[in-house]
């Protein structure tokens, strides 16, 4: 896009006599400084960090398993079972807890436990064996209005919406990062090769990119679900990643095509640097900024795709909580507004967030836009 200009600044940075005390600021420092000044983008970034925190501490925020507990003289962390069932100590299965830790005191009077902030389960309805004395069972049908026990209400089957949304954050975040991580990796490597080597390599790779562009990711995911014995959310991320890299590759190709003619590449080549070194050590850092923008937008797109798939019932295998699945439950009865409003808002804000970050990145790294606001 505007590599030349950036290149010039970079060269300029090196040659311009800097202020005596301060070290000259690099391109990324500069960009970060500008990014920090953009309130909207910074708020968005803060929100992503906040979501990451929610995802990480989900079992401590909402769950029915103690975060820490002392049972028969031993300290356990049953809440880890939400991440992986094998991390939940089998002693509880052996002692017939049957996944209901309300029995903890009855089984061992000397036990103590630190409970999650909200005692609700993202996978099942709290029935009579699961609730504390005085706590009502989760309502079902259209009775699950938000109340003090179910902050965001319950689904028709009586599963708490708040707990599902908290635990669903993990999927929403992972889908974006993992799929676009894969896409970024593939896209940059392939695009770099095409742009850097040019000629017949470029010719073949470009055709290959066009070929992949024709594969509809949704159809591929549907096919994959049919073939795989045990499809997981990871497979879906892999498919989204393996089909979503084309735009990144095209951009990378363009960047590399331009930069390979530049003086510093010639210089590096003259010094005897290998192709790989020139590509990834010298050219890539100079072309990364415009690539980050489609990656960020891609994250937003991946989240939407995941929600759409879950909405259609092809998403994360049940009972994995996902925002899209909740939306789908709400579709059948629009009177249950809480099934549409909360997950809908969450998806909207998250997608908006990534778009804001992407836009911010674009503006701080694109010199033509750089001066527009500041």
């Amino acid at each position: 896009m505007c590599t030349k200009w950036r290149l010039m600044t970079q060269i300029g940075n090196q040659t311009k006599p800097a202020a005596p005390a301060a070290k000259p600021r690099g391109f990324w420092d500069e960009a970060w400084l500008r990014f920090r000044r953009r309130k909207l983008a910074m708020t968005a970034l803060g929100f992503v960090v906040f979501m990451a925190a929610i995802a990480l501490f989900a079992p401590a925020i909402a769950g029915t398993k103690p975060v820490v507990c002392k049972y028969k003289g031993q300290i356990y962390f049953p809440a880890l079972g939400y991440f992986n069932t094998h991390w939940e100590n089998p002693v509880f299965a052996k002692d017939k807890f049957r996944r209901s830790y309300v029995k903890l005191k009855a089984k061992d009077p000397n036990s103590w436990a630190v409970w999650p902030l909200v005692y609700q389960d993202p996978y099942r309805r709290l029935g009579k064996d699961d609730v504390w004395p005085g706590q009502p069972e989760n309502p079902t049908g259209d009775q699950g209005h938000p109340n003090r026990y179910n902050l965001f209400g319950t689904t028709q089957t009586g599963v708490d919406v708040f707990a599902q949304m908290v635990h669903g954050t993990t999927i929403a975040l992972l889908v974006g990062f993992v799929s676009m991580g894969i896409a970024g990796l593939i896209g940059i490597v392939i695009g770099a090769a095409a742009g850097y080597f040019g000629g017949w390599v470029d010719m073949i790779v470009s055709r290959f990119i066009e070929l992949v562009m024709c594969i509809p990711a949704l159809v591929l995911i549907l096919a994959l679900i049919a073939i795989l014995e045990k499809p997981t959310i990871w497979h879906m991320m892999a498919v989204l990643g393996c089909t979503g890299w084309t735009s990144i590759a095209r951009l990378a190709r363009g960047e590399f095509l331009k930069l390979r003619e530049s003086e510093f590449v010639t210089a590096a080549r003259a010094l005897g640097a290998t192709h790989a070194r020139i590509m990834f050590r010298h050219v890539l850092p100079n072309s990364l900024a415009p690539l980050l923008v489609p990656i960020t937008f891609g994250i937003a797109g991946a989240i939407l795709t995941e929600s759409a798939l879950s909405f259609l019932g092809f998403g994360a295998p049940p009972p994995n909580p996902s925002w899209g699945t909740l939306l789908n439950a709400g579709r059948t009865n629009l009177n249950l507004w809480w099934l549409v409003f909360f997950p809908g808002t969450a998806i909207f804000i998250t997608v908006l967030t990534y778009n804001l970050i992407g836009e911010g990145l674009q503006e701080v790294t694109d010199p033509r836009l750089r001066g527009s606001k500041h």
Binding site: S100, A226, G313
Partner: protein, 643 residues
């Protein structure tokens, strides 16, 4: 009047409708296309019928010792039944009621289900807008396989037989003069009426019936549903235009269902079937697909694929040579709207665009109780013999042991399912026959209740304990420690997934890992037919005869997905088919139900009752164990009052 329902009995006979799966809600799903392929051992490539020397009619009459069978009219039967019953409420009272209790439901059905007392009560020019949950693939009745196709063909097609709300079969008075069975039960003689015509004016004769039989038995014709049953017939002979004799291979109680199949016009298809045995591809067949020749009370007026099918009352069906020979159908036009999504059809019902719609348990409970709904509509429910189950593949290392299968039934929280997931609207099930059915065991079988202690005890007896102490049960099989982790397949539908998730949570409590895998309909079908699964969720509609369940439980049958095999059950099905006394048959099928209950190849879950919303202008709806439409009189008894 009686509109014949060709094929419906055939559907019931061996092609239990796969109601359980399919992405389009509870009624969707088709009797599946490949399930019953007839044994193609026969050498003749053009027909599966073996050569037969027919006896002359006089000789047959002399030695057959014919006994008369019933030739009835569904509407007359219903009228006679209603004449004995006093309505529980007047029509205006019933229209004011909200259906919140079984008493109100009974009142609504009793008052609004009645037939018109005077012909002047009926709005003869009224149209009715009905819903179809999936589009009709073919208008050719012998190619029909889905519920939607039988819904439409039941009105446009010609058939000889019907059955009433108690599943009692009879020859239809609209088509048949007499029906006799030989003493050895090896032959059935039918005399057709001589005032029957196709919609193009050609007379319907015995030769059409023979031709249809031959077409169904032609292996080149892709008949999806009707060849099973029909293949039990030895021969059909048309002695003249109206006299037909059906010859059977064996004297079976189920023969009455075998002689009931769809009938197509010989003069239309005789030549073209030779050129194009698919009955769908050639120009001629495309022409008749779009504008079919009908033998029933209605013809196709227009059709937009994926959208709607409009039927029009056929004057030359009830009028013959200027004289009324049959009851005039109550509706002038019937518009079937294809509404695949249950939410959409409910909206259409609420806005008055359709007059009837199937309601889900959730819609019945939560979305059809306000004044806005009752402004235009009312609703009624009835028992339907459609049951749902978890099927355990008994050839897998997990479920080969009957104790494990029983443990599964004990582990599942039946109460939570019935009361919370289905709002207490469905009845529990403990076998394939409903407890009120004549073939159900005399001593009712107990329902399974959740009992985790018992489940754990059974699992431990079967050797499934946690040997390696990782919290999951396992067992040494072939020198390898196999963890108890399996996958349950289910269709992609919210309520089915919720059920399987409940199973998963229940099993998780006792150290078994169950993965829920929702699958698209065709994939699910393929996997289950290949027995390529460990556990599955499914459901079956009940056939008209208990023998129809044989292809689910007899060893090696095509729909015995779970590989269940019990020689006693096989023998009893064989016996039941050959027994003619209804009480003795009931005892045999009761015994079968008990054996299957003991073996638990299925964890029987619930009977899904049928719930419908009806426009307030509709009258005459009554329920049978096969829903409000598909029996005799069924839809034929629906009418609209003069406004």
């Amino acid at each position: 009047m009686k509109i014949s329902h060709p094929g419906l009995a055939a559907l019931g006979l061996c092609f239990l409708v796969v109601v359980a799966w399919g992405p389009r809600g509870p009624k969707a799903g088709a009797a599946d296309a490949n399930a019953k392929q007839t044994d193609t051992k026969t050498q003749d490539p053009d027909t599966l019928i073996e050569p037969f020397t027919r006896p002359p009619l006089a000789e047959l009459d002399a030695k057959a010792e014919w006994t008369d069978q019933s030739v009835l009219d569904g509407l007359e039967l219903l009228r006679a039944k209603q004449a004995k019953e006093k309505p529980l409420a007047t029509i205006s009272e019933a229209l004011k009621l909200t259906n919140t209790s079984p008493q109100n439901n009974a009142k609504i059905l009793s008052a609004l289900g009645r037939l018109p007392e005077r012909t002047s009560d009926v709005n003869w020019d009224a149209p009715i807008n009905r819903t179809l949950q999936m589009d009709v693939k073919s208008m050719n009745p012998i190619l029909a396989s889905s519920v939607a196709e039988f819904d439409v063909n039941g009105l446009t097609g010609f058939g000889l037989f019907g059955f009433d709300w108690t599943m009692r079969p009879f020859a239809s008075k609209d088509a048949v003069v007499s029906w006799q069975t030989s003493k050895d039960r090896m032959a059935d003689k039918i005399v057709l009426r001589n005032d029957l015509t196709w919609s193009d004016g050609h007379p319907i004769t015995a030769h059409d019936v023979v031709f249809s039989f031959r077409t169904i038995m032609n292996p080149k014709v892709p008949v999806p549903a009707q060849r099973s049953g029909t293949d039990k017939l030895r021969w059909i002979e048309a002695y003249d235009d109206t006299t037909l004799v059906f010859f059977h291979k064996e004297a079976l109680a189920t023969n009455i269902w075998n002689i009931n199949f769809s009938i197509i016009p010989k003069h239309i298809f005789e030549k073209s079937v030779q050129e194009d045995p698919t009955l769908a591809q050639s120009d001629v067949h495309v022409k008749y697909e779009n504008d079919p020749i009908c033998g029933g009370a209605y013809t196709i007026a227009s059709r937009q694929r994926g959208q709607e099918i409009v039927l029009a009352r056929r004057e030359n069906w009830y009028m013959h040579k200027g004289k009324q020979v049959r009851d005039k159908p109550y509706f002038k036009t019937i518009r079937f709207r294809v509404l695949e999504d249950t939410n959409t059809s409910l909206l259409a019902l609420k806005s008055g665009e359709v007059d009837e719609s199937l309601l889900t348990a959730e819609q019945w409970t939560t979305q059809t109780k306000d004044a806005e709904y009752y402004q235009r509509n009312t609703k009624a429910s009835g028992l339907e013999w459609v049951y749902f189950y978890f099927g355990w593949n008994v050839k897998t290392s997990f479920f080969s042991d009957v104790r494990v299968r029983r443990a599964m039934s004990y582990a599942f929280n039946h109460d939570e399912m019935l009361n919370k997931l289905f709002y207490g609207l469905y009845e529990p099930s403990n076998g394939m026959f409903h407890r009120t059915a004549w073939m159900a065991p005399k001593k009712p079988l107990p329902f399974y209740k959740q009992d985790l202690d018992k489940a754990e005890q059974l699992l431990e007896e079967a050797g499934w304990t946690d040997h390696d102490g990782d919290g999951t049960r396992d067992k040494m099989i072939g020198g390898r420690l196999v963890p108890f982790e399996f996958t349950v397949l289910c269709p992609i539908a919210a309520d089915r997934i919720a059920l399987c998730t409940l199973l998963k949570e229940n099993l998780d409590q006792i150290g078994i890992v169950c993965n829920v895998r929702p699958l698209e309909f065709t994939v699910l079908q393929e996997k289950t037919q290949k027995h390529d699964f460990q556990a599955m969720f499914g459901g079956w509609g009940t056939g008209t005869d208990p023998d129809t369940s044989d292809n689910l439980f007899v060893t090696g049958e095509l729909r015995n997905f779970c590989n269940y095999s019990n020689p006693d059950v096989d023998k009893l099905y064989e016996q039941g088919r050959k027994e003619f006394d209804r009480d003795k048959r009931a005892a045999i099928y009761g015994k079968i139900a008990e054996l299957i209950y003991a073996d638990q190849p299925y964890t029987f879950l619930y009977f899904r009752n049928s719930f419908y919303g009806f426009n307030k202008s509709l009258r005459g709806y009554n329920y049978s164990p096969r829903g409000p439409f598909n029996y005799s009189p069924g839809f034929t008894s629906f009418w609209k009052a003069v406004p």
